[in-house]
Symmetry: C2
Subunit: 211 residues, 2 copies
DNA sequence: CGGAATCAGTGACTTTTATCACTCAGAACA
DNA sequence: TGTTCTGAGTGATAAAAGTCACTGATTCCG
């Protein structure tokens, strides 16, 4: 697909001024990312900041032993704050980013992200809003793991997931959930059964319907 | 005390250009904060960004039921990234900030923080480095609570605390530790006893020596 | 079709953490 | 000096989460 001002204008619907849209088209690169593809892995350097047009991306935090936790999802018109700082400080990534659905995004070169901040107030505002959102996301994640038990966490996990993919029936295995919540499959299976008993969900093979 | 360029120059030792130091002195306010004082409480609005000259400040995340967790410490030449975004977006604080020691800081008005970013490259760099650091802090906190057991968490808690206050003997009760780690006093008492048995710490009334 | 692979369910048990109930030591203070 | 308060230690027990071992069901594919 070709990146055009028309397209961006529709997608961003008045979020940015025309001059900025023009530069976005001129300097950034359109990308289509298939489900399951890695946008970034820990340790890699990031050379451009992804700006998601549609689809969704999950951000995971791994530890040394191969486990990992879901931090949050990025969706439409979201940007990764970590990649911002990583780029500007040319630091390696601390997280994994995986396309949860087929995702379309534009990759913006770091220099431009930096340059535009002073030239376009809407861009600066956007960048800081992004930081704000990510901090809130991380704090929400901390709230979950510190203050809530697994069954509650599982429920909010399911709800967030349905939000992110916009459908009531999730296609996911217990094993996958366990990995994203850094626990074991059996535990998740049992808790899911419990939630089903309580009438909060409906279990099927590979699928979970949220009621 | 009076805020002078000389003083700041010494404190910041070449971090910022003279013109910026000049504006720092002109527009910000020097503050001395006693131990235990609240810099900010959740729900309050922040009108200026604190820049810590010396001392240390602990940032806590509360939940609705009155419990809270320690997120990280701010020390010399640190700034709170959350207050940055909160200010710029005029949002309420999501966290509590308490002076862990007697702390000296300068309060910088939001408009200046914003304005200087385009005028002083060192300032912009500083702001983004701050975001970087806070993200790293939050990720480290998440690592702890998700991947580590309480005894390990307790040990890193103690080590961070000694770092922040620069002494090997902490003056703290088991109850306080329990609160900052969102658990109960008995649990902490037992784990501390265990650490003492392993020769990692030495317990005294109101005091813990790290070996 | 039939075997292999993947996913889910579950009993039995352990470990970790939380909670309750109480004792004891030292500090504080009148 | 004795009483009160705060901090700490600890046994008993419960609840939550993790682990092991196995079974059964469904899907996939040669």
């Amino acid at each position: 697909m070709n990146l055009t001002i028309d397209y961006l204008q529709k997608a961003l619907s008045g979020k940015f001024e025309l001059a900025l849209l023009d530069e976005l088209v001129r300097y950034s690169q359109f990308k289509q990312v298939p489900v399951g593809a890695y946008l970034i892995r820990p340790g890699e350097y990031i050379r451009s900041v992804p700006f998601i047009l549609n689809g969704s991306v999950k951000i995971m935090r791994p530890d040394k032993e191969g486990r990992e936790v879901l931090l949050y999802y990025l969706g439409e018109l979201d940007t990764c704050a970590m990649s911002l700082t990583c780029c500007l400080g040319s630091k390696q990534s601390e997280v994994t980013a995986i396309a949860e659905e087929e995702t379309e995004l534009i990759a913006i070169p770091v220099e431009k992200v930096d340059e535009w901040m002073c030239r376009f107030p809407t861009w600066k505002q956007f960048v800081f809003q992004t930081y704000q959102k990510r901090f809130d996301n991380l704090l929400a994640t901390i709230d979950e793991v510190v203050f809530h038990k697994l069954d509650e966490r599982l429920l909010t996990y399911l709800h967030k997931k349905t939000e992110s993919c916009q459908c009531r029936v999730l296609t996911v295995t217990h094993e996958e959930i366990a990995q994203e919540m850094a626990t074991s499959r059996e535990v998740i299976s049992r808790l899911l059964k419990q939630l089903e008993k309580n009438g909060q969900i409906q279990l099927m093979r590979n699928k979970i319907e949220i009621l």
